[in-house]
C-alpha cells in the first residue's frame, strides 16, 4: 500500500492520458467516452487531494520515473504548492467537464465532433498536472506542450470563422513562446550541463553574474508570455473569448496559472537571489493597471472577463515579485482563488450566452428579473473577483496588501496602491456589466454610432425573445457547484491560508524541494 501511495504523484498525469487513449480508441461511443472521462477525472481529484494531504503532512512527495537516479532521470515532485494547485485545477477541470456534458446536448451534438473533445480535454488536464509536477526544465517544457497542443485543438473546436481567426493568433503566439522556451533550455544546458531544477541552482551560481541574469530573463520572458504579463499579454483577450464556453472557462482558469506556477517555481528554486525585483514589480503593476483599463473599455462580457484575467495575473506577479514569504503565500492563495472564480465566471458567461444567444452587453438586458438564478450565479463570483469581502478575492487581496505593506519600500507601496485602485476598477467593470446585462431593460434605446460586433456579423447572435426559459440543469448545476466551491474557499480560508503560508515557507526554505528531487527515493 505504501508503495502505491508513493506512486500517487503519477496518477494526475498518466491516468488522463490512458483515459484519452481509450476515449480515442472507443471514439464511436459517446457514452463510453463520458464514463471514461468522468471516472478518470474523479479518481484524479481524489488522488490530488490525497497528495495534498501527504505533501502537507510528510513533506514533498517525489517519484523517480523508471527508477533512474535523480539527476539522470526525471523526478516528479509534489510539494505543497504543486499539490494545492493540482487539487484546485482538477476540481475545476471536473466541474467544467460536467458542464460541457450539460452543454453537449445543445452545442456539441450539432457543431463539433464530440470524439475530439473528450480525449483532448483529458490530455489538457494531464498537461496541466504534468507541468505542476515537473522537476526538470525540459519536462516542464513537455508539460507545457501537452497542454498547449490540447488547447490549440480546443480553441478551434468547431472551426468557425471567429474561432479559427482567434485560434490562429493564439497558436502562433504560443508556438513562438515554445520556441523561446526551447532556446532557453538549450542555453541552460549549454551553460550548466543539466536541466534538473534541483541541480541547477548550484551550477547556475557558478556562472558569471550577467550570464545568470540572461538565463533568468530568458526563462521569465517565456513564462511571462504564457502567464500573460504585460506587455506580453495582448494575445489573450483576443483569443480566449471566442472558444466554446467550457473551453474558455478552463483556459482562463488554468493555462495562465501554469505560467505563474512556472515563474514561482523557477524563481524560488533556481534563482533564489532576487536581482529582478524592481523589474518584476513594475511588470506586475503595469499588468494590473493596463489589464483592468482594458476591461473597462470592453462591451462584451467574455472579453471583459478576459481582460480582468490579465489584470489579476498582475496581482499574483506582485506577490511573487515581493519575494517574501508573505508575498509568495499571498500569490499562492490568489492563484487558488482566481482559478476557481475566473472559471466560474466564464461558465456563467456561457450560461448567459446560452440563455440569450449573446454576451454583447448592448444586446443584453433585464436578466435580473428574467433569470434570477443566473443573476445570483453571476453576482457572487463577480463580487468575489472584485475583491469584495468576505469572499476569497478579498482575502487574497488582503494577503497581498499585507505582504506589500510589510515590504515597505516605495515600489511595494505603489504596488499596494495599484492593487487597490485595480480592485475598484474591477468592481466598476463588473458593475457596469451587471448594470447593462441584468438591470437595464433590454429594449432601452442605446444611441451609439459605433456598431457592435453583433452588427459586423449579421444574422449571428440575434437575440430571440426568451428563446429558452429554463437553464439546462446540466450546465447550471456544475456552475453552481463551482460558485459554491469558490465560496467554500472563503469559509475554509483559515486552513487554506495556512497551507499557502506553509507552501511559501517551503519555497523560501528551498531545501525540502531540492532534497526531495535529489534524494534517493526508492
Amino acid at each position: 500500500m505504501n508503495h502505491l501511495a508513493s506512486q500517487l504523484v503519477l496518477v494526475p498525469v498518466i491516468l488522463p492520458l490512458l483515459g484519452a487513449g481509450l476515449c480515442l480508441a472507443f471514439g464511436r461511443s459517446a457514452r463510453a467516452q463520458r464514463i471514461i472521462s468522468i471516472v478518470t477525472l474523479s479518481i484524479v481529484v481524489v488522488a490530488a487531494g490525497a497528495l495534498l494531504w501527504r505533501a502537507d503532512q510528510f513533506g514533498p512527495q517525489a517519484v523517480n520515473v523508471g527508477g533512474w537516479p535523480a539527476e539522470l532521470g526525471i523526478s516528479l515532485v509534489a510539494d505543497r504548492l504543486s499539490a494545492l494547485l493540482l487539487v484546485v485545477s482538477t476540481v475545476v477541470t471536473l466541474s467544467v467537464l460536467l458542464y460541457s456534458f450539460g452543454q453537449g446536448i445543445v452545442e456539441f451534438g450539432r457543431d463539433t465532433p464530440l470524439s475530439v473533445f473528450h480525449p483532448t480535454f483529458l490530455v489538457l488536464s494531464a498537461g496541466v498536472s504534468a507541468a505542476f509536477l515537473s522537476a526538470d526544465l525540459f519536462n516542464l517544457f513537455v508539460g507545457f506542450e501537452i497542454l498547449l497542443a490540447a488547447s490549440y485543438v480546443l480553441i478551434t473546436l468547431g472551426g468557425t470563422e471567429a474561432r479559427v481567426r482567434a485560434g490562429t493568433i493564439y497558436v502562433i503566439v504560443s508556438l513562438i513562446s515554445s520556441v523561446l522556451f526551447l532556446i532557453s533550455i538549450a542555453a541552460v544546458y549549454a551553460a550548466t550541463g543539466t536541466v534538473n531544477l534541483a541541480a541547477l541552482p548550484e551550477r547556475i551560481a557558478a556562472l558569471p553574474e550577467p550570464l545568470q541574469l540572461v538565463l533568468q530573463l530568458m526563462l521569465l520572458l517565456t513564462f511571462s508570455i504564457k502567464a500573460a504579463v504585460f506587455p506580453l499579454s495582448a494575445w489573450l483577450p483576443d483569443s480566449y473569448p471566442t472558444a466554446p464556453a467550457p473551453v474558455t472557462a478552463v483556459f482562463a482558469g488554468l493555462l495562465t496559472k501554469v505560467g505563474i506556477y512556472a515563474i514561482i517555481r523557477v524563481q524560488t528554486t533556481v534563482f533564489p537571489d532576487q536581482p529582478l525585483r524592481t523589474l518584476l514589480l513594475c511588470a506586475a503593476i503595469l499588468t494590473m493597471v493596463v489589464g483592468i483599463l482594458g476591461a473597462v473599455a470592453q462591451s462584451d462580457i467574455k472579453r471583459l472577463l478576459s481582460f480582468t484575467l490579465v489584470s489579476h495575473i498582475g496581482y499574483m506577479l506582485f506577490g511573487i515579485a515581493l519575494a517574501t514569504e508573505a508575498g509568495y503565500a499571498g500569490a499562492i492563495f490568489y492563484v487558488v482563488h482566481h482559478i476557481t472564480v475566473q472559471t466560474a465566471l466564464f461558465l456563467v458567461a456561457g450560461l448567459i450566452e446560452y440563455r440569450t444567444g449573446t454576451t454583447q452587453l448592448d444586446r443584453l438586458g433585464g436578466l435580473a428579473r428574467a433569470a434570477p438564478v443566473l443573476a445570483v450565479l453571476f453576482f457572487v463570483p463577480a463580487m468575489n473577483l472584485a475583491g469584495i469581502p468576505p469572499f476569497s478575492g478579498f482575502l487574497g487581496k488582503l494577503a497581498l496588501i499585507q505582504a506589500g505593506t510589510e515590504s515597505g519600500d516605495w515600489l511595494a507601496y505603489s504596488g499596494v496602491g495599484a492593487g487597490l485602485a485595480v480592485s475598484l476598477l474591477t468592481l466598476y467593470a463588473v458593475a457596469k456589466a451587471w448594470n447593462r446585462a441584468f438591470w437595464q431593460p433590454r429594449d432601452e434605446h442605446v444611441d451609439d454610432d459605433v456598431p457592435s460586433t453583433g452588427a459586423l456579423h449579421p444574422g449571428q447572435n440575434t437575440v430571440t425573445e426568451d428563446k429558452v426559459l429554463r437553464l439546462p440543469r446540466g450546465m447550471a448545476l456544475p456552475t453552481l457547484a463551482l460558485v459554491a466551491f469558490s465560496v467554500a474557499l472563503t469559509v475554509a480560508a483559515g486552513p487554506l491560508i495556512g497551507v499557502s503560508q506553509r507552501a511559501a515557507d517551503e519555497l523560501v526554505e528551498r531545501t525540502p524541494y531540492i532534497d526531495a528531487v535529489l534524494g534517493d527515493v526508492p
Binding site: E161, T168, A186, D448
Partner: protein
C-alpha cells in the same frame, strides 16, 4: 569549452530567417518560418551538447561519445514540431477555406475599441450623464423637468402617476 563558429552562424541565420517569416501575415509563411526556427533551435541543442564525438552507441567506437541528452531533447522537440506544424497546416487550410486566403486577420473587437479611441469616445457600456438628476428649487423648471425629478422615486408600480395635478 570551445564553440563551433559554423554552427553558431547557422543558428543565427536560421533563427533570423525564421523570425522574419513568422512576422508575415500569410499562415503558410509563418509555418515555414516556424520550421526554420525549429531547425535553428535543434542546432542550438547540438551546440549545447559540446564538441562533436562518436555516435552515442556503446561499443560502436572507441572515441569519446557525443552527449546523448541534448540529442534526446532535440529529438523530442523535432517530433513535437512535426505535430504542431501539421496542425498549423490544417489551420491554414481551414482559413483558406473560410476566407479565400490564408492571411492572419486582425481582431475585429479590438478594431472597434481602436475606432472608439479615434473618435474620442467612451466604452459602449458607459452611460453618459444625462439630466435625470434630482432637480432643485430655484431654477425655472418647466413641467417636463418636473417629471424627470420624479424619475428618481422608487414607485415603479404606478407608471401613470406622471401628472397628478
Amino acid at each position: 569549452m570551445s564553440v563551433d563558429l559554423a554552427l553558431i552562424i547557422a543558428i543565427g541565420v536560421l533563427v533570423a530567417c525564421g523570425t522574419t517569416l513568422v512576422l508575415e501575415r500569410s499562415l503558410t509563411r509563418i509555418l515555414v518560418g516556424f520550421v526554420l526556427l525549429g531547425n535553428g533551435v535543434n542546432l542550438f541543442f547540438i551546440v549545447a551538447s559540446g564538441p562533436p564525438g562518436a555516435a552515442p552507441i556503446v561499443g560502436a567506437s572507441d572515441e569519446r561519445m557525443a552527449d546523448p541528452l541534448p540529442q534526446a531533447m532535440a529529438l523530442t522537440a523535432i517530433v513535437i514540431t512535426l505535430g504542431v506544424t501539421a496542425f498549423g497546416l490544417a489551420l491554414a487550410y481551414r482559413t483558406w477555406q473560410l476566407e479565400g486566403h490564408d492571411d492572419v486577420q486582425d481582431d475585429v473587437e479590438d478594431a472597434l475599441v481602436i475606432r472608439r479611441a479615434e473618435r474620442d469616445d467612451t466604452s459602449a457600456s458607459f452611460d453618459e450623464v444625462d439630466e435625470s438628476l434630482p432637480e432643485e428649487e430655484g431654477a425655472d423648471l418647466p413641467a417636463v423637468d418636473d417629471e424627470v425629478t420624479r424619475e428618481n422615486d422608487e414607485d415603479h408600480e404606478s407608471p401613470d402617476d406622471g401628472d397628478p395635478r
